[in-house]
């Protein structure tokens, strides 16, 4: 308290103090990121049992999809049918590898291209809709895709799906190896989206998301950017589908339905939809959640629903919003030059 009298006069010290508290904030964020990155790299050493690797892989793959949806949401559209692209990618990759006997790389590329083409074909039409209407039409698209996967039995194996899908390469047959493979691909996807959002394209996307009406007045450009985001997202979901299929070795239509699409939405809302970190945290939270509720067997689903409701009630801006809010509180108190 007494220090304040001996300090440099307020006007020149205030900027210094403010800068130091925001510096601390940034340092804290960097430290957090470093811990996470190191943790991810040594995860298999910390938790060697296959089960923990399995969950980690599922989280990583889910992150790809949530981040993809995030890109679409940034342009002001909420899609309830993203799982359709994931399923399309999974079946494309499987088909190319198992029926056409192409190498995995071709399957992987196919999983990128085919959903992307679909998004390119329907995007211009579908993205003209806004708000709830867009949500409903994407819901319908998701249902149609699932039905098609179910009905096209000669091609897709129908209700029983396709089993015996080989891993991308022989050395990727082990969970540890696949974990690092998924980690690399997921990191690449996140990096790509981050770079995109930080670039001029990203700023344009945000502008479109913010001011729907004004952007519409600007005309064609807005819809082109939206379609671009939609196509990129579809391709990313195709990547997730391909990695999913070749990890699990078995795919069937049940997994690519409305529930899967909702998981991406939940990850964004629960994690926070304003920043890229949101869906990442959202997926990391939601995917393992049922595992913690296992002990409750029959109550598992009720608790899952309760957690969704509670999190969205007490953290309306998502977990990211809550955490950064707390962090800002922690670090801005120092600004007053002493404790309360």
């Amino acid at each position: 308290m007494d220090n304040s009298a001996r300090d440099v006069p307020a006007t020149s010290s205030a900027p210094l103090r403010m800068r130091s508290s925001s510096t601390r904030l940034i340092l804290a964020q960097i430290a957090a990121i470093a811990v996470i990155v190191i943790g991810l790299l040594v995860w298999p050493a910390l938790f060697p049992q296959e089960f923990y690797l399995h969950i980690a892989i599922l989280v990583l793959l889910s992150i790809i999809g949530s981040v993809a949806l995030h890109l679409v949401m940034r342009t002001g559209r909420l899609s309830l049918g993203q799982a359709a692209f994931c399923g399309l990618g999974a079946y494309t990759s499987t088909f190319l590898v198992m029926k056409v006997h192409a190498p995995f790389v071709m399957g992987f590329l196919g999983a990128i291209v085919v959903p992307g083409l679909l998004a390119l074909a329907i995007g211009p039409v579908v993205l003209r809709l806004r708000g709830v209407y867009f949500a409903l039409i994407t819901f319908a698209l998701g249902e149609v895709m699932q039905l098609l996967l179910l009905d096209a039995q000669p091609l897709t194996g129908g209700a029983d799906g396709i089993f015996g899908i080989p891993p991308p390469a022989v050395f990727l047959n082990s969970p540890v190896a696949y974990y690092y493979f998924a980690l690399i691909v997921t990191a690449a996807c996140i990096g790509f989206v981050y770079a995109l959002l930080s670039s001029q394209v990203g700023r344009a996307l945000d502008a479109i998301g913010e001011t729907d009406n004004l952007a519409e007045a600007a005309g064609i450009a807005a819809s082109r950017f939206r379609v671009f985001a939609f196509v990129v997202a579809a391709s990313m979901l195709g990547i997730e589908g391909s990695l999913f299929a070749h990890y699990l070795g078995y795919i069937s239509p049940q997994v690519f339905g409305f529930n899967a699409s909702l998981l991406y939405v939940a990850a964004n809302v629960v994690g926070g939809s304003t920043s890229l970190v949101g869906p990442i945290i959202g997926s990391a939270f939601l995917v393992p959640l049922p595992e913690f509720l296992r002990g409750f067997v029959q109550y598992q689903q009720i608790l899952y629903g309760a957690v969704l409701l509670i999190v969205v009630t007490i953290a309306p801006r998502g977990l990211v919003g809550a955490i950064t809010g707390k962090m800002r509180l922690c670090f801005s108190r120092r600004k007053d030059g002493g404790d309360e």
Binding site: L129, L136, L141, L147, V269, Q298, Y299, Q301, P316
Partner: protein, 291 residues
């Protein structure tokens, strides 16, 4: 084997029954969106609870069917008032969070029902309406006639309510423009609660009515919700005449397509149809374009 007339009559009767069921499910859903801008993912669960409560009053408390139906619907409405505080009110105006909240609620309600009633299909037996009527060579189970009659009655009552009562008029003004409504002295909260109650009551009544004709399981709400989605897309979100039109289209359409072409084709057709419709006319057949 059956004559053309009796086939057409049968298709028409089946379609009418289906339309009546769908109309009741869709009405509450579109009401909630039209006035409160809420996409209620738990609408199907409330429908299911209406059915379950009716079943409970019928088979455990041995009440006559109509009393059980009424009591069941009122119980769900009471539950709805409690749920509104917890899972809806905090999210007015916050669509995204509202979706997740109602979704979480739907999951909770469904699996609570699983714990209470199990997953095996239940039925209200002995059935309260065993008779089967025969009209022009086609058959109509009396239970379905009950559904048609009550659905029509409810729709007419609702129409009367919105045209000729103060609260009903207030509802319509709020649906048009909440600010003007408030300026005119209408208490928004009263309207909101009334709307919510109406929506829940309609869903629960639909559940109890449909439950007597078919089987009941905790997952029956999911299909009801999807039907509601389809209908409001067809008819236009927030439009009551639209959801009636949508119900009739879906009901008669399903009946015709299923009877003439079999189940598979019909299902995909519906989703493709609404995709095309949305692309061409986003606000549905009768909806107004919203900003």
């Amino acid at each position: 084997m059956a004559s053309s007339l009796s086939l057409v009559t049968q298709i028409a009767i089946n379609g009418l029954a289906l339309s009546a069921e769908y109309a009741m499910i869709a009405l509450g859903f579109t009401l909630l969106f039209g006035i409160l801008r809420i996409v209620n993912f738990a609408h199907g669960s409330l429908f299911m609870l209406g059915a379950m409560f009716t079943y409970e009053f019928c088979t455990v408390f041995h009440l006559p069917y109509f009393e059980a139906l009424l009591l069941g619907a009122l119980s769900v409405a009471a539950l709805g008032l409690l749920l509104e505080r917890i899972a809806y009110r905090p999210f007015y105006g916050r669509e995204l969070q509202g979706i997740i909240a109602t979704l979480g609620l739907a999951i909770m309600l469904q699996y609570a029902a699983v714990i209470l009633w199990g997953q095996q299909p239940l039925s209200i037996s002995p059935t309260p309406f065993p008779a089967v009527l025969h009209i022009a060579g086609a058959s109509l189970p009396s239970g379905q006639l009950v559904i048609i009659v009550i659905a029509t009655f409810l729709l007419l009552a609702f129409y009367y309510f919105t045209r000729f009562t103060k609260l009903g008029l207030a509802l319509r003004v709020v649906a048009e423009d909440p600010e003007i409504a408030q300026a005119q002295g209408i208490h928004l909260n009263v309207v909101y609660v009334a709307t919510f109650l109406t929506s829940v009551l309609l869903a629960a009544l639909a559940g109890g009515l449909i439950g007597q004709q078919y089987t009941l399981t905790p997952s029956m709400g999911t299909d009801a919700l999807i039907k509601a989605f389809i209908i409001v897309i067809l008819g236009g979100l927030g439009s009551v005449p639209g959801s009636i039109l949508g119900s009739v289209l879906l009901g008669l359409g399903t009946s015709t397509l299923d009877t003439l072409f079999g189940g598979n084709i019909a299902e995909v057709t519906w989703f493709v149809a609404i995709i095309v419709l949305l692309a061409v006319r986003p606000s549905g057949l009768l909806g107004r374009s919203h900003g």
